[in-house]
Symmetry: C2
C-alpha cells in the first residue's frame, strides 16, 4: 500500500492537458453507461458549519476505483485553518483490496474540478474568447481560470468577489503573473457578465446572483459552486435564455446543482434537453454550434472525475518513487 502526501501529489499532478484528458475519459465512461456512481454520502457537522462528503465511482474497464473523503469545515477559517481537507483511497476493483491512499487535502479535487471546467469550455465557449470573467477569488476561482486558459487564450480577466480587499488583490497579482493576462476587479457581478464571453461562478452562494437580463449572445457560463441542495448561483430564469444547457451528471445536478432550482421554478423539467459532459466528450451530442448562442454548464462534481485523477496521480507517484510504502 502506497501512501502519498499532498506535497508529493503537487509535484506529480497539476491542471494540464494530461489531467483534462484523464477526466474526459472518466466522463466518457459515464455517458457510455460504463460507470456506476452511487449517491454521495453526506455527513453534516452543523456545529462547525462543516460537512464530510464521500464520493465514489466504479468503472468496470478500470482495475482500480477511488473512494474520496472530502471535508469542508467553514468555521476553520475563523481558526486560521483551511476549510477543505480529505483524501482519496484507491481500491483494486477486482479484489476490493486497498492499494493506495492519496493524502491530498482536497488538492486532487481542485485539479479535477478545474479539468471539468476546461472540458465545458472546450465544447461550449465561443471559439475565440478575449474577455473571461470569474465570480469568486478562492481556490476554484484560480483553478477554473487555469482550466479555461488551456482551451481559450483569453487576454483580460474580469473579477468580482465578496472577499476582503487583500485576498482579492492577492488573486489579481497571482493570476496576472501566472496566466499573463490583465486582471480587472469589477464593482459588480453584472459588469463581469456584460464584459465577458465566458464567466465561471465559483462561490458557495445560497441564492442566485446571476440575472437573466445580463446575458448576451455568445456568452458561456459555467456554474461550479453548487453541490448541495442549499446552494445556488444562477437565477432560475437564466436557464430560459440558454440555447444549450449542459451539466456533468443530470441526476446529480437536478438535486444538488443549478438545475435543481430551475426544476423547482418550472423552467426546466427532467425531460428538458440537457447534455452531459460525457456526451460532448464522446461526440454523441454537440455543444455550442454558433458563436451567437448562449450556453450554460452546471457542475456538481462526479466520482468518475475522482477515480480518473487519482489513478493518474498514483501512476505518476509510482513512476517517480514518491510516497511511503506501508507493509
Amino acid at each position: 500500500m502506497r501512501i502519498v502526501t499532498e506535497k508529493d501529489l503537487r509535484v506529480c499532478i497539476k491542471l494540464d492537458h494530461d489531467a483534462v484528458k484523464a477526466v474526459e475519459q472518466g466522463f466518457a465512461y459515464l455517458s457510455q453507461g460504463k460507470a456506476t456512481v452511487p449517491p454521495i454520502l453526506m455527513l453534516p457537522v452543523p456545529e462547525q458549519q462543516g460537512e464530510v462528503d464521500v464520493k465514489t465511482a466504479y468503472m468496470p474497464d478500470i482495475d482500480k476505483l477511488a473512494v474520496k473523503i472530502a471535508s469542508g469545515f467553514f468555521n476553520n477559517n475563523k481558526k486560521g485553518l483551511p476549510s477543505a481537507s480529505g483524501m482519496m483511497i484507491l481500491l483494486n476493483s477486482r479484489t476490493g483490496f486497498p492499494e493506495a491512499i492519496l493524502l491530498d487535502n482536497g488538492y486532487l479535487t481542485q485539479v479535477r474540478t478545474g479539468a471539468a471546467g476546461s472540458i465545458a469550455a472546450k465544447h461550449l465557449a465561443p471559439s475565440t474568447v478575449t474577455h473571461a470573467g470569474v465570480i469568486g477569488t478562492g481556490t476554484q476561482g484560480r483553478f477554473q481560470m487555469r482550466g479555461l486558459k488551456l482551451e481559450r487564450d483569453f487576454k483580460t480577466l474580469h473579477v468580482f468577489s465578496l472577499d476582503p480587499e487583500d485576498t482579492v488583490e492577492a488573486y489579481r497579482r497571482e493570476m496576472a503573473e501566472e496566466l499573463k493576462v490583465e486582471v480587472i476587479i469589477e464593482p459588480t457581478v453584472q459588469a463581469v457578465v456584460e464584459k465577458s464571453a465566458v464567466v465561471v461562478t465559483t462561490t458557495p452562494a445560497r441564492k442566485g446572483f446571476i440575472r437573466a437580463e445580463w446575458l448576451h449572445p455568445g456568452l458561456h457560463i459555467t456554474a461550479m459552486g453548487s453541490d448541495t441542495e442549499e446552494k445556488q448561483e444562477l437565477m432560475p430564469e437564466v436557464f430560459s435564455r440558454a440555447d444549450v444547457t449542459a451539466c456533468d451528471l443530470k441526476s446529480q445536478c437536478f438535486s444538488l446543482g443549478e438545475l435543481r432550482s430551475a426544476l423547482e421554478a418550472g423552467i426546466l423539467t427532467r425531460e428538458s434537453p440537457v447534455i452531459e459532459l460525457g456526451e460532448l466528450v464522446a461526440g454523441t451530442k454537440k455543444g455550442r454550434t454558433s458563436d451567437n448562442q448562449i450556453t450554460l454548464c452546471d457542475l456538481t462534481g462526479v466520482g468518475v472525475q475522482d477515480t480518473a485523477i487519482a489513478l493518474q496521480a498514483l501512476s505518476r507517484a509510482e513512476k517517480q518513487g514518491l510516497g511511503t510504502v506501508v507493509e
Copy 2:
C-alpha cells in the same frame, strides 16, 4: 497522521469488556439523538460479486469521527483471497482534518459486530444460558460466540454450518479450546434452535431459514447476517412469536435487516414496538423481563459502532506507540 496496520490493531484491540463498553457508549449516543448516521453508501461491483460500503456517524460529544470503507468481494474466495478488506479513517470532528488511518482489513468491524451481539445478549438472553447455538462457522460465527461468552457462561455450543467439513472441524476445535466449551456439530438448523437458549445466525443467506415453529419459550435469537436488501435469515413469521423485538437501528433494519421481510410480510409495521439497543443500554426501555419470553435482535451494523471502536483502537495505538506517523 498515524497509520496503524491490522497486525498492530490486533495487538491493541480485542473483543473484551472494554470494547463492548465503547460500543455501548456509541449506541447510547444514538438512542439519545446525539448521533448523526447518514444512509450507507453502497457501491456494487457485480463482476466480482463484490460491494464497497461506506459507513460513518458523527457524535457531537466526541472530538473524532470515523469513516469506514469496507469491501466484500466474494469472488476472492475462488482466488484463495479473503473476501473482506477495508479501513477506518478518523477525522477530527471539529476541523474535518484526517488524524489516523486504521488499515484493519475488516478486523475492527468484526470486533464491534461481536460487541453488538454481546450487548444484545446482556439485555435479551435468559439470565442463565447453558446451551448456545450458532448458525455459520465463519469469522462472525467466532466473534458472536466470544461476545456471548462475555455475558453468559454457556457450557455447550451447538453448531450448524453449510461450510466444508474441514472448515467446520477447524471451528469446532478452535472454539472448544478458546471458550472452554463442548462444541457439537448438529445435522440441522432445527436441532440447534431446539437445543439452545441463545442462537446467533451469522450467514449471508438470502432466504429465511429459521422457522417460527422451532422457537421455544426462553429462546433468544440474534440475527446479524443481513445487512443488505437481499439478505434474510429469519422467516417473517418468527417475528409474530417474539415477546420482545430489538434491533440496532430501526430505520436501517427496516430496509436492510430482518425487519425488512417482516415488514413486507405485514407481520411488523414501522410502528410496531421494536426496541433499539441504545435504549436498552441507556435504560430507557427494558429488554427481557422473564425467562420464558422469546426475544429477537436484528443487527445490521451502525456507524456509531465504527466510530466507537476506532477511537478505542487509536487511543491504544497512540499509548503503545504503534503505527507509522506520516508528515
